[in-house]
């Protein structure tokens, strides 16, 4: 097995290309069946299984991928714009974090990227749990200005998922749906964090 492939634990049908570990899931755009870009940073990749392991390879490119990767018989290929305001995109299991030490997926020059996801095997154990990976994903990431999501290779499943979301849309939100006390708690924590940081400066 190529060392660049990783077994990634899937959480509720997703794994992540996260920006500094943040998961602003309220800002996810679910209109595509394979990639759910989060408008406030990073993206979730939607898997066939609901829980368990899938196999993932990820590569950072300097230039756009011109050719379709044919190293495997990919069944679905979709690309979408991904923003990374913290400029620290990493492949991650939501539950268990990065499967390997940091990989240089971002550059200093931009916070806007293009993510192309290749998938196969998403119907092998649909909505089930899989302790042995049966799905494979190749993720390519390169710097790019924002552009609409594009399906390069479709499937019945992708169409079903897109139709389901269109029939029952969950549009991205710019703020998390949380009660006022959660917002107030964040303000309190900011004040305490500042007090602790101030103590370091005073040393």
């Amino acid at each position: 097995m190529d060392a660049s492939w990783h077994d990634v634990f899937v959480t509720e049908g997703t794994f992540g290309l996260l920006d500094d570990g943040e998961i602003p899931v309220h800002s996810a755009d679910w209109s595509n069946g394979l990639i759910a870009p989060m408008l406030q940073g990073g993206a979730l990749v939607r898997t066939g299984i609901q829980s368990g392991y899938v196999r993932v390879s990820i590569r950072a490119l300097r230039e756009p991928a011109e050719e379709i990767d044919e190293s495997r018989p990919w069944e679905e290929i979709v690309e979408a714009a991904v923003t990374a305001p913290r400029n620290r995109l990493r492949l991650e299991s939501l539950d268990y974090g990065p499967p390997a030490p940091d990989m240089p997926l971002t550059t200093a020059d931009t916070t806007q990227y293009r993510l192309r996801v290749h998938a196969r095997g998403r119907d092998a154990a649909r909505s089930q749990s899989a302790q042995v990976p049966r799905e494979e994903y190749l993720l390519l990431v390169w710097p790019a200005e924002p552009a609409p999501t594009r399906t390069l290779r479709g499937s019945n499943r992708l169409e079903e998922e897109e139709q389901a979301e269109a029939a029952n849309p969950h549009p991205p939100r710019m703020h998390p749906a949380e009660p006022p006390e959660a917002t107030a708690e964040r303000e309190i924590r900011a004040r305490l964090d500042e007090a602790l940081r101030r103590s370091r400066k005073d040393q």
């Binding site: 049908g13 570990g21 974090g97 909505s127 089930q128 939100r173 959660a182 309190i188 305490l192």
Partner: protein, 395 residues
């Protein structure tokens, strides 16, 4: 309480102002008290032996039920410390906390005495309040433990005393700073604050360690021997660099159950299922019956498989189980499945009670969002294996 008491000389106590900070919004924090075994170390009286003149002093922890209403006292404008929150008022003799703050109010009795011809006579008394307020950060390896002290009543020679403080530390922490110079007991109801900072030693990748902090208050009094009150150790914070996806150290109160919020407006299917599941008796909604997280992928997978392994295929929907698979309250702990009308899960009965799980087919993207919401909570609140957490459905 020790020795005799001359109530005619006792100073009156009136108090309205406190050193506490009003909450910014009603219910802005939802502090709760620690349940189960107290982490207070044993406390008791400590008396010095009388000196060559027969004079000595005692210091004693006072039971919480003897604590009066919080006394007045102008806040010290020179304090660099953070004013404790209003809910500290509830922490009389018990620890109240949120995930990043902890508070306990103690009462201390200070007595001076003299022994003449074998007879011990109290020459003065003072009653003091101590507010232990500790705070940390989910993104800092440093915690603070400040001690707010005031004397609210007293008489005689005890009122001539002064006290100074020195912070102390234990467990996986080092003391960075913390002391305050001698402060007079009088005037009464004057608050004095000591501010101490401690650094966790659990900063290496994968490290986890508790921080134990405390203060020693030494009372000095002309003509009497000094005595030291050892403020019971405060062991509320756990620091770690072992939170998946968050490769920086931080500190939290691990027994406090933070909440993940399911908004009905944003996630109607999810909120509907979970609110019905909780109403049927399943845990997770309250501090008294929280869920506890599992980080074991085998438990997670087993929970999922037993709950949803035979889920029907419904276009656009996926199987949601409650309690969530990432908790120890899933079916790996035993129990049976239940479901509700409209859940599209044939062959499963309704059910009641705190064990087992509920299953329901819900919109797949809401189910995926749920995974993100939980992971967001686990990362932001540093929820490690066996930590409690709550699931709260909001409008």
């Amino acid at each position: 309480m020790m020795g005799s008491q001359d109530s005619s000389n006792e100073a009156a106590v009136v108090s309205e102002l406190t050193r506490l900070t009003p909450e910014t919004t009603p219910g802005s924090d939802k502090p709760t008290s620690e349940t189960g075994t107290s982490r207070l170390s044993d406390v008791g009286a400590s008396c010095t032996e009388p000196d060559e003149n027969g004079r000595g002093s005692c210091i004693e922890y006072k039971a919480p039920d003897t604590i009066p209403a919080l006394p007045s006292g102008e806040s010290n404008p020179q304090l660099a410390a953070v004013a404790p929150p209003q809910w500290c008022e509830d922490a009389q003799g018990v620890v109240y906390a949120t995930r990043t703050q902890a508070c306990r109010i103690d009462s201390v009795y200070y007595e001076t005495y003299v022994v003449r011809n074998g007879t011990r006579t109290t020459t003065g008394e003072a009653n003091l309040l101590l507010i232990n307020y500790s705070y940390g950060s989910t993104s800092e390896s440093r915690i603070a433990h400040q001690l707010d002290v005031t004397a609210f009543s007293g008489w005689g020679d005890a009122l001539k005393a002064s006290y100074n403080g020195n912070a102390r530390v234990g467990y996986a922490c080092t003391k960075e700073s913390g002391s305050f110079s001698a402060k007079p007991i009088q005037p009464l109801n004057q608050w004095h604050t000591g501010e101490a900072f401690f650094d966790s030693t659990a900063t290496a990748t994968g490290a986890v360690g508790e921080c134990g902090t405390g203060w020693n208050l030494t009372f000095t009094n002309p003509g009497y021997t000094s005595t030291t009150y050892v403020v019971p150790v405060f062991r509320q914070f756990r620091c770690d660099n072992n939170t998946a996806g968050r490769p920086v150290p931080g500190c939290v109160v691990p027994w406090y159950a933070s909440a993940v919020y399911y908004s009905r407006a944003a996630y109607p299917d999810l909120a509907s299922h979970v609110s019905r599941a909780q109403a049927s008796g399943l845990p997770g909604a309250t501090f008294e019956a929280p869920l506890t997280r599992t980080t074991d992928p085998a438990v997670n997978g087993d929970n999922r498989e037993k709950a949803c392994g035979d889920a029907p295929s419904v276009s656009g929907k996926s199987c949601d189980e409650y309690p969530v698979a990432s908790s120890y309250q899933g079916l790996s702990a035993g129990g049976t499945r239940r479901t509700f009308d409209g859940c599209q899960f044939p062959g499963i009965p309704a059910g009641q009670g705190p064990t087992g799980v509920s299953v329901c087919m819900i919109t797949a993207t809401e189910n995926s969002s749920q995974g993100g919401l939980h992971t967001g909570l686990y990362r932001s609140e540093r929820v490690l294996d066996k930590d409690p957490f709550r699931v709260v459905v909001t409008p």
